[in-house]
């Protein structure tokens, strides 16, 4: 497997303006994202997760460091607008606010928007839009008005818009943060399916721990640095380190952690409530 995104020592600061000093956000961030993987990025507010997402989409340019997208150095001097558009065709983004990213009033028109920008002939756009709507399960809403949809449905439309452009990698910038639990589940199910069935690389920025447990890999950020990087099991097993960074851990992990502190012999890398329950039962039986 090859890396679709590779970041080497990225640093970024929002430039100051007159009296206000520049705000450093990212410090020396390095990582690689394998094609087809599902990576969750965790961190509390203001730790630079969204800035990182914007760097990966080339909305912002890093001050220092090198960013490779699909093996191409996007930070070199001789990068052209064409290269940037080309990279944006590979990496798409779904934003936090479902209302602020839909352009058209009709669902299918919005899904088509990206393809229209790419100058694809109309019959092909039609085909892609239908496919994308099928993938997110919104085909029957194709002619509906976007503003009447629920938050979860709007986010699925935004995802369809990204899919219609045939992108291989989608960055979700807290796309579930403004949704109700039902909508969040809808979107998470869609994201998981895209990753498993369509082989799409997913970078999911979130602060919901239980969403992060669905990923193959979790990157934890704090104050613009990557502090942890590993499988959900590895990362959440170090609950103390996460608490130190002002983050929560999944409820199952917290429970198991407390059990362990109380002297029970339990594993920490369990996220399924059922499994967790049997692990605890086993540990209690053992202790007796």
């Amino acid at each position: 497997m090859s890396a679709i995104i590779k970041a080497e020592h990225l640093s970024f600061a929002y430039p100051g303006d007159g009296d206000t000093p520049a705000v450093p956000v990212l410090h020396d961030v390095s990582f690689e994202i394998e094609e087809g993987s599902f990576v969750a990025v965790l961190g509390h507010n203001g730790c630079g997760k969204s800035t990182l997402a914007k760097l990966l989409c080339m909305i912002l340019e890093p001050d220092e460091g090198i960013l490779y997208i699909n093996g191409k150095d996007m930070t070199s001097e001789d990068i052209t607008d064409e290269d940037i558009y080309d990279a944006r065709r590979r990496v798409g983004m779904v934003f936090q606010n479902p209302d602020n990213q839909l352009v058209a009033t009709i669902v299918e028109e919005d899904v088509a928007f990206g393809c229209e920008n790419l100058g694809i002939p109309s019959e092909k756009i039609r085909k892609r839009v239908d496919e994308a709507l099928d993938t997110v399960g919104m085909r029957k809403y194709a002619r509906h008005a976007t503003h009447r949809l629920s938050g979860g449905q709007k986010q699925r439309i935004a995802i369809a818009g990204v899919l219609a452009m045939r992108r291989k990698c989608i960055i979700f910038d807290e796309s579930t943060a403004m949704l109700d639990p039902g909508g969040r589940k809808e979107v998470m199910d869609t994201i998981c399916r895209l990753n498993r069935e369509e082989g799409i690389t997913v970078i999911h920025i979130t602060h919901y721990m239980n969403e992060a447990t669905l990923a193959d890999r979790v990157i934890v950020m704090n104050d613009g640095r990557i502090i942890m990087d590993g499988t959900p099991g590895q990362v959440f097993s170090c609950a103390d380190k996460l608490w130190e960074a002002g983050l929560d851990v999944p409820q199952t992990t917290e429970l198991l952690w407390r059990m362990k502190e109380a002297g029970y012999n339990v594993r920490l890398d369990i996220f399924d409530p059922e499994e967790c329950a049997s692990e605890i039962a086993k540990a209690i039986a053992e202790k007796r």
Partner: protein, 276 residues
């Protein structure tokens, strides 16, 4: 929901008129209006009435909706009718000479015809455009009709993109206004009492957050559009290409026949000649 009002104009449907090409529809509406103003005698007005009934049948829109659409104009219609009845000097007085004012038969007919014309004008244009065309289709139609102007550097695409986005955000901003107003009411602000100046002042704490959020939304949207490779109108294609069909040809003939009929009736049909 208040946000429904904005799009309440468009009636979902798949009638003959719904399927017309929006570009042609815009042309049809203008021609139809010209036709209406050419009408000069009772026969021409009869044709006008016939045309509106035909349009209504073709649109498949319920009469209730059309009548509802006329309601806001009731005052203006009544006002012009009354003015015409009392001011018009005709040849057949209807009241005894001893009265201090006079009403003429021609005045009443005139008033009725004016009412008819205004009603047909409003209903006809609504049926042809607003009730049967989505705002988006309308914007597309305008963009393509004006496309030749892009050659002389008129930003046609940018204008239509602005229209599209404005239409898209109207319901969102209305919802937002409702939310902010509720929030301000919860803090004791009163929008419904006091003098006009007071009420206007009470709106300031609603408008300021609304504007701030609108700017934030605009920035978010710009980022999202950039992420979706939007680079302006050049090199852009459309999914839904507008096609002219046999329907547009039929409608073109019908509208041409309508105008021709009005003109011929004006010239050849005898009878009462309408005065503006």
């Amino acid at each position: 929901m208040r946000s429904d009002i904005v799009f309440g104009q468009y009636c979902e449907g798949s009638s003959f008129l719904h399927k017309l090409d929006p570009r042609w529809k815009i042309i049809f509406v203008f021609s139809y209006i010209v036709g209406l103003f050419l009408a000069k005698n009772i026969f021409a007005f009869a044709l006008m009435t016939l045309s509106i009934i035909l349009l209504w049948v073709l649109s498949g829109i319920r009469a209730k909706i059309l009548i509802k659409g006329l309601r806001p104009l009731l005052f203006i219609i009544a006002f012009t009718a009354i003015i015409n009845i009392f001011w018009f000097k005709g040849e057949t007085p209807l009241l005894p000479d001893s009265w201090f004012f006079q009403i003429y038969l021609e005045g009443i007919i005139n008033a009725l015809l004016i009412v008819l014309r205004v009603a047909v004008l409003v209903t006809g244009t609504s049926i042809l455009l607003t009730y049967t065309t989505t705002p988006i289709a309308l914007t597309d139609g305008i963009e393509q009709l004006l496309a030749p102007l892009a050659k002389i550097k008129v930003p046609v695409h940018e204008f239509s993109m602005m229209m599209t986005i404005a239409l898209r955000f109207i319901p969102t901003l209305i919802e937002e206004t409702d939310k902010i107003m509720s929030a301000q009411k919860a803090r004791g602000s009163d929008f419904s009492q006091g003098s006009l100046a007071r009420r206007a002042k009470a709106l300031v704490p609603v408008l300021v957050p609304l504007f701030i959020s609108a700017f934030r939304r605009a920035e978010d949207l710009a980022t999202a559009m950039e992420c979706r490779c939007y680079t302006g109108g050049a090199g852009r294609t459309r999914m839904n290409v507008l096609h002219s069909t046999w329907r547009d040809a039929v409608m073109l003939v019908a509208i041409a026949a309508f105008i021709a009929g009005i003109v011929l009736l004006n010239i050849f049909a005898p009878g009462y000649v309408f005065a503006m």
